[in-house]
């Protein structure tokens, strides 16, 4: 009987958030496809400058920027909000309210990102990194997020649980952090309050924190939820996960200024940025340790569970990309790799290898529960996983190696600049091939998702596994 009641409760919670969550998650996939196309065009242009060169809207500076904003505010943010709105009712045991308003927010969000991308392509970008949307669009997105945060905090207020699970800590904090960051940065920078070096500092305070205090916490909330659910045992050290939370809250906030190492900014600010970047090793270690210890003895499940496979890949990327970022911030390292493709490789390991892979894991877990369907094809999931994993690995290795080479050549004034450019070209070509693999992965994923939401996938029964599930003893289960 208890089991039945529990199932009924979950059905009620999932039902309360189904429409807005699906709307956010499906929109995100559309933006992922748009962003992948823009990315491929931009990538090819960097080694074939005559490609699509006759129109202003297709020029590299606009394509690259349209790519970043469509994947950051379309794919990443909408996927993150979708996952947040699904996790909150589950973790508070309170059904979501205001779903009509949330659906409106999702539609408005789509319209605003579309308007922003068109603005960039037609020359209305602000050219402030990560804040390229004109101010009215940014204000619209703030209102949409306020609706999301309002619904989330409302559920938190009506919670039916005594205990606040660590995932909910991260989600609650995001509902505070993102509006503060986004509003302050947009009003300060585009509202004419800041100029010169002060504006550049605010820019990087925001641009780094939008990763650390928006997408990272939502990805970690997903990890801490999906991992124990799939393998059926609690997080190894709950206490450690809370240490990780506060360490992230304290240190990530101050890490952004490493983006201005060697630049014309006050020395103290850059030094604080570097110190905070090194301190990030603490929260990252807690997550990596917790993931590994929780997974220990259950690694065989990676063979069968799609969610687990993506989530564990993402968790491992988090450890690698964060450790890399800490050392990249050091002055000696920055002297070589800042201003090079190395940074682009690092950024993609973070936003793709970590964040996007975590969201994919979330989708594989959430969508069957919201649509009442199973994933239609294990082959499509395999194509998605391997093209994603292979693509991001090639992407990262090519730009990391190419970036180090580029940086070392730049430090040698005897090497003419155009020779440096030539040296980077093979690495940039490799990156385009990697981008193609990622795009194939996204198409496979989009086909699966479309079949789920259009009702073409089989009704719920046995989950779609990548391999027959094997018990620890080795027998088939």
């Amino acid at each position: 009987m208890a089991e039945l009641e529990h199932a009924q409760l979950l059905a009620k919670l999932d039902g309360s958030c189904r429409r807005p969550v699906l709307l956010f998650l499906i929109s995100a996939v559309v933006w992922l496809l748009v962003g992948s196309t823009l990315a491929l065009i931009a990538s090819i242009k960097l080694h074939a400058p005559e490609f699509l060169a006759n129109d202003a809207w297709l020029t590299f500076g606009r394509m690259r920027t349209a790519h970043l904003n469509s994947v950051a505010y379309g794919w990443a943010a909408m996927a993150a909000v979708g996952v947040l709105l699904w996790l909150v009712p589950r973790l508070t045991r309170a059904p979501l309210r205001g779903t009509r308003l949330l659906e409106g927010a999702a539609w408005a969000w789509n319209g605003l990102v579309a308007a922003g991308v068109v603005a960039i392509l037609t020359g209305y970008s602000t050219s402030v990194e990560w804040l390229e949307f004109p101010l009215p669009i940014a204000m619209g997105l703030t209102v949409c997020f306020a609706v999301v945060a309002g619904a989330g905090l409302d559920a938190l207020h009506r919670r039916q649980v005594d205990h606040i699970y660590v995932s909910l800590w991260y989600l609650t904090a995001v509902m505070v952090w993102f509006p503060v960051l986004y509003l302050t940065a947009n009003i300060g920078i585009h509202g004419g309050l800041l100029s010169g070096v002060a504006q550049a500092m605010t820019n990087w305070w925001f641009a780094h924190n939008v990763l650390g205090l928006f997408v990272t916490p939502i990805a970690l909330a997903t990890l801490y939820y999906v991992l124990p659910k799939v393998i059926g045992r609690p997080i190894h050290s709950y206490y450690l996960s809370l240490v990780g939370f506060w360490a992230l809250a304290l240190f990530y906030n101050w890490a952004g200024l490493h983006h201005l190492v060697g630049g014309p900014v006050p020395m103290w600010a850059v030094t604080v940025g570097i110190v905070a970047s090194m301190m990030m090793l603490i929260p990252v270690t807690t997550v990596a340790f917790n993931q590994h210890m929780t997974m220990r003895g259950h690694f065989h499940l990676l063979r069968s569970s799609p969610s687990l496979r993506f989530v564990v890949f993402a968790g491992m990327s988090y450890a690698v990309v964060s450790a890399q970022g800490s050392f990249e911030a050091l002055r000696g390292m920055s002297e070589v790799v800042h201003f090079t493709q190395y940074t682009v490789g690092h950024a993609h390991l973070g936003m793709y290898g970590f964040f996007s892979m975590m969201m994919f894991g979330g989708y594989y877990f959430i969508l069957p529960r919201l649509t009442g369907r199973e994933w239609p094809s294990a082959t499509l999931i395999r194509v998605h996983f391997w093209c994603s994993a292979f693509g991001i690995a090639v992407y990262f290795l090519a730009l990391t190696a190419g970036g180090v080479q580029q940086g070392l050549l730049l430090l040698d004034p005897g090497v003419p600049f155009l020779d440096v450019v030539q040296a980077t070209l093979p690495w940039l070509q490799a990156r385009s091939w990697a981008g193609l693999a990622l795009t194939v992965a996204h198409i496979a994923f989009a086909i699966s998702v479309a079949q789920m939401v259009l009702g073409l996938a089989p009704a719920r029964g046995t989950p779609t596994l990548l391999a027959q599930r094997v018990t620890s003893q080795g027998g088939a289960a």
Binding site: F60, T172, G196, V197, P266, F339, V344
Partner: protein
């Protein structure tokens, strides 16, 4: 047992802490007014109207995504040896800039002092029309859309290698191209600016 209120206030406190350090303190503490040089001139100088329009072209085309505008100091990197500047950049160089186009990538070279390094208008126009004409092997895209092709002779026409365009056709820079070049020519960080008003 931690209450949501504690959590919310804690989260708010951490972000306000860094907001104070990285937004408010610089906003109040970093110089925002031009300085007067020994020769009596104000620095940084106000851009001409045409150069200011060119800055907008630079912004809307996204030049900043491949070109930084910040010269590293003498002890850091090889910018000065490459001739990219005559000194390291200082906060005062960016006074009043909205946005400051510091950049984070050097797919192309730094442009903080390009007006000194490459003062020729003809060079810049040719380079924008087709980077291969001046910088063979460059991966900069051509900006042909900043130029008009007109029939017959035009005195503003670019001198292009034979066969680039059809016979009898002249390639003439648009107002946007001329403005962009005026901006690039105005990008200079003179060496006699040694400190800032704060020091």
């Amino acid at each position: 047992m931690i209450e949501p209120r504690t959590l919310l206030l804690g989260a708010l406190a951490t972000v306000c802490f860094s907001l104070t350090g990285y937004v408010l303190v610089p906003a109040l503490g970093v110089e925002t007014t031009p300085i007067t040089l020994e020769n009596g001139r104000a620095y940084p100088p106000v851009l001409s109207e045409q150069a200011a329009q060119g800055r907008e072209v630079y912004r809307d085309l996204g030049c900043v995504y491949c070109h930084s505008q910040q010269v590293r100091p003498e002890t850091f990197g090889a910018d000065l040896d490459r001739g990219w500047g005559r000194r390291g950049s200082l906060p005062v160089d960016y006074v009043g800039q909205q946005p400051p186009l510091l950049g984070t990538m050097r797919t192309g070279p730094d442009l903080a002092d390009i007006g000194t390094r490459q003062p020729s208008e003809t060079w810049h126009l040719l380079h924008l029309y087709d980077p291969q004409l001046t910088s063979p092997g460059s991966n900069m895209p051509p900006f042909r859309f900043l130029f008009d092709e007109v029939e017959g002779h035009d005195e503003r026409a670019l001198t292009l290698p034979e066969g680039t365009v059809a016979n009898g056709v002249s390639v003439v820079p648009t107002a946007r191209a001329s403005a962009l070049v005026a901006y690039l020519q105005a990008l200079q960080q003179p060496p006699d600016v040694t400190g800032s008003s704060d020091e």
